[in-house]
C-alpha cells in the first residue's frame, strides 16, 4: 500500500510537472494495487501469480485543448516525461468546444471513507491460505470422482485523484473472489463468489466447491430439448448477465444523447416489469465500494429503474453539462471518450425462495448461468449467449433432470418485462467486464427465447 500521504505526494509532483510543461490546468490520478491469484485445474494448482503496480494518468488542459499521458514509471524522470507528453498532445490537439473543464472543488467535496472497504486480512491473504481453500474444492471433487478447476484471488487497490483546481480524493479497498467449475462425464457445474472482503463469504467458503461438484453430478446424462420459448428460473449469475447488458445498452448517458441507447427517449416510462427495481450505490459496503469517480466527484446513489420505470441516468461532468444536469459521480475521467456508467448495481430482492419458484413452475428450465453473451441488436437490447454449467428441466414443480445446453437470443427489455417472481436472497457477481460487482437475486420469467442447441 502506498497510503494517502504518499499518493498525494506523487500526484502533487505530477501536477507541478504538468504546470512546468505548460498546462494551464491539470488533473492527475494514481491507481495502485496488488493482486494475487491461485488457479487450479484437474484437481491441482497449475498457475499461481502475483502482480504489483502503480501508475499515474495525467490530463493536461490548455484552454479547450486536452492531452493525456499515463505511466507506471513514478520516479521523477518518468513523471516529468509523462507530463511533457500530455502537454505536447494538448498543444497539438484541436480545440474541443464541448470540453466542460476540470471539476471545480465545490463539486468534489471530500468523499467519505466507506467503513470496511479495505480489509487487511483479505488484502494480505497468503499463497498458502489460498492453496488451503483450493484444497477444499479439489479434495471434495476427488472424493466424488469429479475434476475441479477454478481460482482463488485476493488483492487491494488505491485510487487517488488531485487537480490543479484543488480537488483531492483518496480511497483504498480490498477484493476477494473464489470460483470453482466441476466436470464429470461431460457434465459441468460451477460456483462463483466475489466481495470486497472475505468476511461475508466465509460461510460459503467453508464448503467451497460443493455447489459446483453437486451441480455437475446432477447434470450428468442430459437429454436434448427443443429450443423455443420456455418459462425460466434464472439463478443469480444468469440474472447478472441480463442486468449487466441492460446497464451497458441502456444507462450510458452519452449514448442517450447520441440516440443510440436502447432506452433513448424512454426515461420516465415503464420499460420492464414493475417487479424490477435497479439501483446503483457506490457506497454499499456489501459491494466493492468506491465513493468517488475518476474526476473526483462523489458518487451519488441512483435509482436507475423504479418498479419498472426508467428513472435516473448516471452522468459524467461532460454528459451532465450537455443535459443541463449535475455530474452524478460516474465518470471514467476527463480523458475517457465514454459517458458515465454505473459500476455498483443492485437489483432489489423480492420475497420468493428458489424452491418456491421451482414448485410454482409446471414446465420450464432452471438456468445456472449464461456464457459468452454478446449484443445482437443494440437498439432493441437483443443479446445472444449460451447456457453453461447446469441447465435443468422443471416439470410439474420439480426438477425433472438435466438437459443439453441451449443458445438464447432475446431482448433484455422483453425478458425483464416477463418477471413473475424475484428471489429473496442476493448474490454478488463479478461484473461481466471485470470490475465492479452486480448484486442480484434469482428471477422467474414467464418466457425466455432459446434459438439453438449445442451437443452437450
Amino acid at each position: 500500500m502506498i497510503g494517502r500521504e504518499k499518493s498525494f505526494a506523487v500526484l502533487d509532483r505530477a501536477l507541478a510537472e504538468l504546470e512546468r510543461a505548460g498546462a494551464k490546468a491539470a488533473q492527475a490520478q494514481l491507481s495502485a494495487g496488488h493482486n494475487e491469484l491461485t488457479r487450479f485445474a484437474n484437481n491441482y494448482i497449475h498457475q499461481n501469480v502475483a502482480e504489483e503496480d502503480a501508475a499515474v494518468s495525467l490530463a493536461a488542459v490548455i484552454g479547450k485543448r486536452l492531452g493525456g499521458a499515463g505511466t507506471n514509471r513514478l520516479d521523477r524522470a518518468g513523471i516529468a516525461q509523462a507530463a511533457r507528453q500530455a502537454v505536447a498532445i494538448a498543444k497539438q490537439a484541436a480545440e474541443d468546444p464541448d470540453f466542460p473543464g476540470l471539476v471545480a472543488p465545490a463539486a468534489a467535496a471530500p468523499a467519505p471513507e466507506v467503513p470496511g472497504a479495505y480489509d487487511q486480512k483479505t488484502a494480505t491473504l497468503a499463497p498458502a491460505a489460498r492453496a488451503k481453500l483450493v484444497a477444499k474444492a479439489t479434495q471434495y471433487a476427488a472424493s466424488k470422482g469429479v475434476v475441479a478447476s477454478g481460482k482463488v484471488a485476493n488483492g487491494a487497490f488505491e485510487l487517488a485523484v488531485a487537480s490543479s483546481l484543488g480537488v483531492r480524493q483518496y480511497a483504498a479497498g480490498s477484493s476477494f473472489s473464489a470460483a470453482a467449475t466441476a466436470m464429470v462425464e461431460g457434465a459441468a457445474g460451477s460456483e462463483d463468489w466475489a466481495a470486497g472482503s472475505l468476511a461475508p463469504l466465509e460461510a460459503r467458503l467453508a464448503a467451497f466447491g460443493k455447489e459446483a461438484v453437486d451441480t455437475a453430478l446432477a447434470a450428468r446424462k442430459p437429454r436434448k430439448v427443443e429450443p423455443g420459448d420456455w418459462a425460466v428460473i434464472l439463478a443469480p449469475r444468469a440474472v447478472s448477465t441480463l442486468v449487466d447488458f441492460l446497464i451497458y445498452l441502456g444507462f450510458d448517458a452519452q449514448a442517450h444523447q447520441e440516440g443510440r441507447s436502447c432506452l433513448a427517449g424512454k426515461m420516465g416510462t415503464k420499460v420492464v416489469s414493475e417487479r424490477i427495481t435497479l439501483r446503483d450505490d457506490g457506497l454499499d459496503p456489501e459491494g466493492m465500494p468506491l465513493a468517488f469517480d475518476f474526476e473526483g466527484v462523489p458518487r451519488k446513489r441512483l435509482t436507475l429503474i423504479e418498479a419498472g420505470v426508467a428513472r435516473e441516468l448516471p452522468h459524467s461532468t461532460r454528459t451532465a453539462k450537455k443535459a443541463g444536469a449535475q455530474s452524478t459521480g460516474h465518470s471514467f475521467g476527463p480523458l475517457s471518450s465514454h459517458g458515465g456508467l454505473p459500476l455498483h448495481v443492485g437489483l432489489a430482492p423480492g420475497d420468493a425462495g428458489l424452491e418456491a419458484m421451482i414448485a410454482s413452475t409446471p414446465k420450464g428450465l432452471l438456468v445456472s448461468r449464461f456464457w459468452y453473451t454478446n449484443v445482437a441488436e443494440p437498439a432493441r437490447a437483443v443479446i445472444t449467449g449460451m447456457t453453461r454449467d447446469g441447465l435443468f428441466l422443471i416439470e410439474n414443480g420439480r426438477i425433472a433432470g438435466p438437459v443439453c445446453n441451449l443458445r438464447f437470443t432475446e431482448s433484455v427489455l422483453d425478458a425483464l418485462s416477463r418477471v413473475e417472481a424475484v428471489g429473496a436472497e442476493l448474490q454478488g457477481v463479478g461484473g461481466e467486464w471485470d470490475g465492479g460487482l452486480t448484486r442480484v437475486p434469482a428471477l422467474k420469467l414467464s418466457a425466455f427465447r432459446f434459438t439453438g442447441a449445442t451437443e452437450f
Binding site: 492531452g67 493525456g68 497539438q92 460451477s190 471518450s337 454478446n374 443458445r407
Partner: protein, 482 residues
C-alpha cells in the same frame, strides 16, 4: 543480457528453482479518436515491469512488479515467485511439470519491420489525418461519426535458466472509421476497414496511410443511412459468402480457440472453457471440407500475431492446423506440447510484464483458394453476402456459434443486390466448415488484426492475426433474430 534479468535468474536458482525465466517488458501506446468533428481522445501511456516465472519442486510460481529499477527489486520478485511456487506444491499434480524442447539459445534479436515509425509521426499529423477522414463521414441522420488510430510498441528482454535469451521489439499500428445512423429508436453502424476501431497490423504508420480512410468515408456513411431503410434480414437456410473481416472472426472463434492445447487439457476449463477437439482427433478428424486449409503462422509479415520469439523463447514458426479439411495440429506451449511428446508450436504469449505466457493464437490463417470474387458471386445466385462483424458468441467447447454482421447483401444475377439489416447466422463448427465449398484467391486474401482476444485468469488480452479471403458456405441458418 540486462543485469536485472541476471539478478532475477540468479535469485531464483538460489531459492531452489529448477527452471526460471524472466521478462522485462515495456509497452508504449498512443490512442486517438476524432468524433463528431472534435478530438474525443488523445492520450499516450507507458507501462513497464518485470515478470519472473519459476519451477520449484515441479510446481509453478510467478510474480511481477513495476518498480524494478534496482537489482534488489528483481531478487524480491524472484523470491515471491518461489514462495508462490511452494504454495502451489500444497495442491500439486501427480507428476511434476515437464517442459518440452526450449527456445534457441544465445542472445537473439527481432524487431518488426517498420517503414515509418508511428511514434515519430506528430500528434498534429495523426489527428489531422483522422479529422480529414471523419469530416467526410458527416451527413444527415448521422449523429455519431468517428475515426480511430492506435499505435503500440512492446519491447521485451527475455532470459531463462536454460541459456535462452532474446530482445524483441514489436510495433503495431491500426486505424478505422465508423458512422452511426440514427432514426427514431433505431440505429445502424457501418465501419471501415473493420468494426471495433478498424484494422491492425505489425507495421509502421505506412499501414494507416495506405488505408485511404478518407476515400472510403462517404461510402461508409451512405451504407449506414441505407441500413435504416433496409428490411430485416429474412430467416431461413441460405448459401452465404462471408467477407474477409467476418471470416477472420469466424476462424478466430471456431478454429483458433478450439486448437489451443491448454483448453483441450482442461487448464482453462473454469473460465474460457474447454474444446471439442480432444487429442484422439489429431491427424484424423474431419474439421471441414477439402477447401479448408489453415495454418498457425507467426512468420507471416504484418500479422498481429507476427513475432520473432514467443514468450518462452521459442522461435516463430508456421504450423499446419487443418490440411485439406483434416485436423493436423494444435497451438501449444512447451508444457502442453510435452504432454503429447511434441515440440511447442511457439504459441506461448503473455500480456505484458505482469502476466504469464499461456497458449495463444499467432496468425491463424485460412489459406486462399482459387476463386475470383466476382465469379463466386455469379455462382451463388439467391445467396447472401455478409460483411463486417458486429457480434460473436460461441459455447464453451466451441461448437455452437452465432455471429452478427453490420450488413448483408442479397446476391442476385451474379451481383450484390438488395441490402438487409441486422443479419445473423448460426451453426455447429465442424458442420459449418464442412459446408465450405469455395475460398477466394490470394489477390482477395488479407490479414485482419484482432487486438482484443481475452483469455486467462487474471485476464489477458492478446493481439492476434487472421488471414482470410471471402469464402462460401452452403445451407447455413441465417436470421435468427425476430
Amino acid at each position: 543480457m540486462d543485469p536485472i534479468l541476471i539478478s532475477a535468474l540468479d535469485a531464483a536458482r538460489v531459492l531452489g528453482a529448477s527452471f526460471a525465466e524472466a521478462r522485462m517488458v515495456e509497452e508504449r501506446s498512443e490512442s486517438y479518436e476524432v468524433k463528431n468533428g472534435k478530438p474525443a481522445q488523445a492520450a499516450s501511456s507507458v507501462s513497464a515491469g518485470l515478470g519472473v516465472r519459476v519451477l520449484v519442486d515441479g510446481c509453478w510460481g510467478f510474480a511481477s512488479a513495476a518498480d524494478v529499477a534496482k537489482k534488489s527489486a528483481a531478487a524480491r520478485v524472484a523470491k515471491l515467485a518461489a514462495k508462490i511456487a511452494k504454495a502451489s506444491a500444497l495442491v500439486r499434480a501427480a507428476e511434476p511439470v515437464k517442459l518440452g524442447a526450449g527456445g534457441a539459445s544465445g542472445d537473439l534479436q527481432y524487431h518488426t519491420a517498420v517503414q515509418e515509425d508511428p511514434f515519430k509521426v506528430s500528434v498534429e499529423e495523426k489527428l489531422g489525418l483522422l479529422a480529414a477522414a471523419e469530416k467526410r463521414l458527416h451527413g444527415p441522420e448521422l449523429p455519431v461519426t468517428q475515426a480511430f488510430l492506435t499505435v503500440f510498441r512492446r519491447r521485451t528482454s527475455f532470459a531463462n535458466t536454460e541459456g535462452a535469451a532474446f530482445e524483441q521489439e514489436i510495433t503495431e499500428t491500426g486505424a478505422g472509421i465508423a458512422a452511426t445512423a440514427v432514426r427514431g429508436g433505431e440505429f445502424q453502424v457501418r465501419s471501415y476497414p473493420n468494426s471495433f476501431r478498424g484494422n491492425f497490423a505489425t507495421a509502421g504508420f505506412e499501414y494507416v496511410r495506405a488505408m485511404d480512410l478518407a476515400g472510403n468515408a462517404e461510402r461508409v456513411s451512405a451504407e449506414a443511412r441505407q441500413l435504416l431503410d433496409a428490411p430485416q434480414c429474412p430467416p431461413g437456410r441460405r448459401d452465404i459468402v462471408l467477407d474477409g473481416g467476418q471470416l477472420a472472426l469466424q476462424v478466430h472463434e471456431s478454429i483458433g480457440h478450439p486448437i489451443e492445447l491448454d483448453r483441450v487439457f482442461g487448464t482453462e476449463a473454469a473460465y474460457a472453457g474447454t474444446s471439442f477437439l480432444t487429442t484422439e482427433k489429431l491427424g484424423s478428424f474431419r474439421y471441414g471440407s477439402e477447401h479448408v486449409n489453415v495454418v498457425a503462422d507467426a512468420t507471416e509479415p504484418g500479422g498481429l500475431g507476427t513475432f520473432g520469439f514467443d514468450d518462452e523463447g521459442t522461435p516463430a514458426r508456421r504450423v499446419d492446423v487443418i490440411k485439406n479439411g483434416v485436423f493436423v495440429g494444435y497451438l501449444s506451449d512447451r508444457e502442453s506440447a510435452a504432454r503429447l511428446g511434441l515440440a511447442s508450436s511457439g504459441a506461448a504469449r503473455a500480456d505484458g510484464w505482469s502476466r504469464i505466457p499461456i497458449v495463444r493464437m499467432t496468425n491463424i490463417n485460412l489459406l486462399p483458394g482459387a476463386w475470383k470474387f466476382d465469379d463466386l458471386l455469379a455462382a451463388t445466385d439467391g445467396g447472401l453476402y455478409l460483411a463486417t462483424n458486429r457480434s460473436w458468441s460461441i459455447d464453451d467447447r466451441r461448437l455452437n456459434f452465432q455471429f452478427g454482421t453490420e450488413v448483408a447483401w442479397e446476391i442476385a444475377g451474379g451481383k450484390l443486390g438488395r441490402l438487409y439489416k441486422n443479419p445473423t447466422y448460426t451453426g455447429i463448427t465442424p458442420e459449418f466448415w464442412g459446408s465450405c465449398d469455395a475460398v477466394c484467391a490470394r489477390e482477395f486474401w488479407k490479414l485482419w488484426g484482432t487486438p482484443n482476444c481475452g483469455k486467462g485468469q487474471p485476464g489477458q488480452t492478446a493481439h492476434v492475426g487472421h488471414g482470410a479471403a471471402p469464402a462460401r458456405f452452403r445451407n447455413v441458418q441465417v436470421g435468427v433474430v425476430k
